[in-house]
């Protein structure tokens, strides 16, 4: 994996239990911060009908899509059963206070 890390901001830029969007030419990426300050990054597009996941409610390690309330696993982008579908996830990490994102998608879901 040729991780090409980009500094996208600092931890404080992202609200706890919330998300911010990184715009790229291939579409938006949502960077999530959980209640325990864990970071995750997903393509900002719900596998259901493309709802912006960054606008959803972050709870535990999941986000509920704002459009029809599908729950998506932050770690791998998989919809929580009984819904089925998957959204691309991206590596993201914290270096000190700096949030580092890689645009090289994680392997995982097919498609997208």
């Amino acid at each position: 994996m040729s991780d090409n890390w980009i500094e996208v901001g600092s931890l404080n830029d992202i609200p706890q239990q919330g998300a911010r969007v990184v715009q790229t030419e291939k579409g938006d990426i949502a960077v999530f911060r959980t209640v325990d300050d864990e970071l995750f990054a997903l393509r900002d597009k719900c596998p259901h009908r493309g709802g912006p996941l960054s606008q959803g409610i972050v709870h535990g390690k999941r986000v509920a899509c704002p459009l029809h309330d599908w729950k998506i696993n932050l770690a791998n982008g998989e919809a929580v059963a009984p819904d089925e579908g998957c959204t691309t996830s991206f590596p993201v990490k914290l270096e000190g206070e700096r949030v580092m994102l890689s645009l090289a998608a994680n392997k995982g879901c097919a498609g997208n």
């Binding site: 830029d13 209640v35 493309g50 409610i57 709870h59 459009l67």
Partner: protein, 820 residues
């Protein structure tokens, strides 16, 4: 050092309480249990299948002795407690040993009633209460032929059925002329009797026992009318009495049972009591469902959370005779104020009767096919209005939902383990069977809690029930309870609100910690509700948790299906000016708004804005004096008006001005669900006030106030609240009503269902009849408005919550373009 908890009675209620306590506060007490029976804890209700030979003792054990060891509990089995020394705080057992306590739990169950006739102490006369009794019956069945069961109630019939299965010839003697007279109506009881007779049971109805005759062992029974029948085993199943002897001796107040309060404490607050031995609000119980609820509350109190209250239980009945399905609940006899819906198909052996009052089910009797019993029971308990489907209700839930997916026991038995039972939550048969056997579940609610099956739409309830029946043998019971807020907690909306107020909880994490949330930070359902409850309870003090708000309320605009937003500025009372219209037109052009639409609430909506543009749009609108219309929130939406007496020839009052004043008073207010008002200038009601949450209709003599209306999916016309004379009164009543709704309704409950749930008389009592209470409510409303009437658009146009509207970063060709 840990406090000491001593439990008297190793039965179902006592140990269930200990289990609940271990769940919530495992390290609080050193626990010692005394049990008169020489066993671990077993499932008493399964004694019937044990007698019938369908189960073994191992099958019916709930907690074996190892469980006590594993949980550090000292068990004294086979040791009856003979004395409670409340001054010395210790109990004394039959062998003279004693144990000190800090808290004591009495769960001594009940004792079978033995009718006072000569010969009732002869050998061969038994009751049906514990394993020892079953042993004696099984012994008798091996050596003797004629069994007589006195009592045609549930217990008696189950005993009779069991003894018949063991090869005895059995006669049931019953004092009344119908069986199960407390559980069934006459037609159902007749059907039951007929099918039991077909299976080989004999009945003597209306027979009063005078004496039991024999030398050492029973030989005959003699009745009042002089007739006699042979008997070498007599089972007394005529009823039970709460076992209060020990408590009485210790001076604890008892009536028919040990009297307890809503936290399961006796008159000595160190001493708790649960189970069949107690009397709560004048009622004693003889089924397990209430005990489970009592156990929960008691454990909660022992763990010193003190928020649970036991409020009594609605119980239902099923008979555990394999192959016979009957069910009853509630007031199934009815009276002159009720109606009966009856379905009877004698050749199929099916009978159902629903007793209905005001389109709500008050009671139900079912015989032959009880697959829908839970559905009826839920409808009854929730007091659901059945008028929508009253014509089909007798045909069952499958018919009602248009879903033939219900199966019976044989069908579930034949299913493979990976057959999906619950489509909503994706639960398969195998998961459920495993949970039932490993976790020893035997109520539908337990299965719901552990597997999530049947916890959403409920259409698979019949299948889950059939599966339970198949695995545990048709002898589970329903434990009805009030619905928790969501899967993250066991508490109901009302309990949570009471705790927020009573224990002064002031943040979401604090609520979750104090009330033992099961998830680290809740779910969308509960977080949004908690945020609202806290906001309502602590105006001016509570800091809104924006991440616990749905996106529309966080962004102060409505998200649309393509992820763009719509914006609706407020137009007070539906009035506007050329200047406002010009400003809106300019914004629409400047930001290339795709659609401009006049809404149903008399406002103008701009569709298709990007989130990043919102602060700038708002700034432009603000400059023309336009503020947020809160069209996105669980909040005051709009006040719709007609032009009233200023222009209309029918108008009786200045309804437009009233609308504007009401909107100025109420805007910015957060409510459990959206809230709409309207004011019409005369009873022609052009503003459609009678489908609003609060509607005002002008009349010559003043104003008529209406509440609880709703357009939308399910139209409901308002209820008439009262008539008032002055405009000031209109405002006071409106503020008070809104505050009552804010403080009392559940989150996401519109006024229409809320008014139906609490009843119009409750609303009238607080708003119309209680002047002082109304003024206080209105005051609280106006106080909280001080903090909520800031235009959220203005704050954001000036830079608040910036992160909400800006991307974190823009990257092109892997190059960083904009850094926020």
């Amino acid at each position: 050092m840990k406090e000491k908890l001593v439990v008297i009675g190793n039965g179902m209620a006592g140990i269930r309480t200990v289990e609940e306590l271990l769940k919530v506060a495992p390290d609080t007490y050193d626990i010692t249990v005394f049990g008169a029976e020489p066993y671990g804890n077993y499932n008493r209700i399964m004694l019937s299948p044990l007698l019938a030979g369908e189960k073994t003792i191992d099958d019916i054990m709930l907690n074996d002795e190892q469980w006590y060891v594993d949980n550090g509990i000292t068990l004294h089995k086979g040791k009856e407690v003979t004395e409670i020394d409340r001054v010395g705080r210790r109990v004394v057992a039959v062998d003279g040993s004693s144990e000190k306590y800090d808290r004591l739990l009495i769960a001594t169950g009940s004792t079978p009633f033995i009718i006072p006739v000569p010969g009732n102490d002869l050998e061969g006369v038994v009751s049906f209460r514990d394993i020892h009794d079953v042993d004696r019956m099984l012994q008798a069945a091996k050596q003797h032929k004629h069994a007589v069961v006195i009592g045609g109630g549930l217990l008696g019939l189950e005993a009779a059925n069991g003894l018949m299965q063991q090869g005895m010839s059995v006669t049931v003697v019953h004092l009344m002329d119908t069986l199960l007279e407390r559980q069934l109506d006459k037609p159902a009881a007749e059907m039951l009797k007929k099918s039991l007779e077909e299976r080989g049971l004999n009945f003597l109805m209306g027979a009063q026992t005078e004496a039991i005759v024999g030398k050492e062992r029973v030989e005959k029974i003699r009745f009042k009318d002089g007739t006699e029948i042979y008997a070498d085993l007599v089972v007394m199943a005529v009823g039970i009495r709460a076992n209060t002897a020990l408590a009485k001796k210790a001076g604890i107040h008892c009536e028919r049972g040990i009297v307890v309060n809503d936290t399961m404490q006796t008159f000595d607050p160190r001493v708790y009591a649960v189970g069949e031995c107690v009397q709560h609000r004048g009622i004693t119980y003889g089924l397990v469902a209430p005990l489970f609820e009592m156990a929960k509350v008691c454990a909660n109190h022992l763990a010193q959370y003190g928020i649970g209250r036991y409020q009594g239980t609605v119980t239902s009945t099923k008979l555990k005779v394999t192959g016979i399905d009957l069910f009853s609940a509630g007031d199934f006899h009815g009276d002159e104020n009720t109606e009966e819906l009856v379905f009877q198909d004698a050749s199929r052996g099916v009978y159902r009767k629903l007793v209905v009052q005001n389109n709500r089910i008050k009671g139900a009797v079912m015989y032959g096919d009880t697959l829908d019993s839970n559905w009826y029971f839920d409808l009854m308990r929730d007091e659901t209005d059945i008028s929508d489907f009253r014509d089909k209700v007798l045909f069952g839930q499958a018919h009602h939902l248009g879903d033939a997916g219900h199966g019976e026991e044989q069908r579930v038995a034949a299913m493979s383990d990976d057959t999906e039972i619950c489509g909503c939550n994706g639960v398969c048969k195998g998961d459920i069977v495993k949970a039932i056997t490993e976790k020893k579940l035997f109520t539908l609610d337990d299965v719901r809690a552990h597997t999530k099956a049947s916890s959403s739409c409920g259409s698979c309830t019949g299948l889950v029930e059939a599966l339970l029946a198949h695995v545990v043998g048709g002898d589970y019971s329903t434990a009805p309870h009030l619905k928790p807020m969501c899967g993250c907690t066991v508490h109901t909306h009302d309990e949570v609100r009471a705790a927020i107020n009573g224990q002064e909880l002031k943040s979401i994490p604090e609520v979750m910690k104090t009330l033992e949330w099961k998830t680290p930070d809740g779910c969308p359902k509960c977080r949004m509700a908690l945020n609202y409850y806290l906001l309502c309870a602590w105006p001016g003090e509570y800091q809104d948790a924006s991440q616990s708000r749905f996106i529309n309320e966080r962004a102060h605009a409505n998200i649309q299906k393509d992820g763009s937003y719509s914006v609706i500025p407020r137009m007070w009372g539906g009035d506007t000016t050329p200047a406002e219209l010009r400003a809106i037109a300019e914004v629409a052009e400047k930001y290339k708004v795709k659609t401009v639409h006049v809404t149903g609430g008399q406002r103008i909506a701009l569709f298709g804005l990007k989130k990043e543009e919102l602060p700038a749009v708002w700034d432009d609108l603000n400059n023309a004096g336009l503020v947020s219309g809160h069209a996105y929130g669980k909040a005051l939406r709009t006040v719709k008006t007609c032009v009233g007496k200023e222009w209309c020839r029918f108008g009786t009052q200045d309804s437009t001005r009233m609308g504007i004043e009401l909107e100025k008073m109420t805007w910015g207010c957060w409510t459990p669900h959206k809230f709409k008002l309207a004011v019409s200038g005369c009873p022609r009601n052009c503003a459609e006030a009678t489908i609003k949450d609060f509607g005002v209709v002008s009349v010559d003599s003043g104003w008529e106030l209406h509440v609880g209306g709703n357009g939308g999916v399910k139209v409901r016309a308002t209820d008439f609240l009262c008539h008032v004379k002055t405009g000031e009164e209109v405002k006071e009543y409106c503020a008070a009503f809104m505050q009552l709704y804010r403080e009392n309704a559940h989150y996401l409950e519109r006024t229409a269902p809320w008014v139906e749930r609490v009843g119009l008389s409750y609303i009238k009592e607080h708003i119309v009849e209680d002047e002082e209470g109304r003024k206080k409510l209105a005051e609280r409303f106006l106080y909280s408005q001080k903090f909520s009437q800031q235009d959220p658009w203005k704050e954001r146009a000036q830079g608040a919550e910036k992160h909400e509207f800006e991307p974190l970063l823009q990257v092109m060709n892997e190059k960083v373009l904009v850094n926020s």
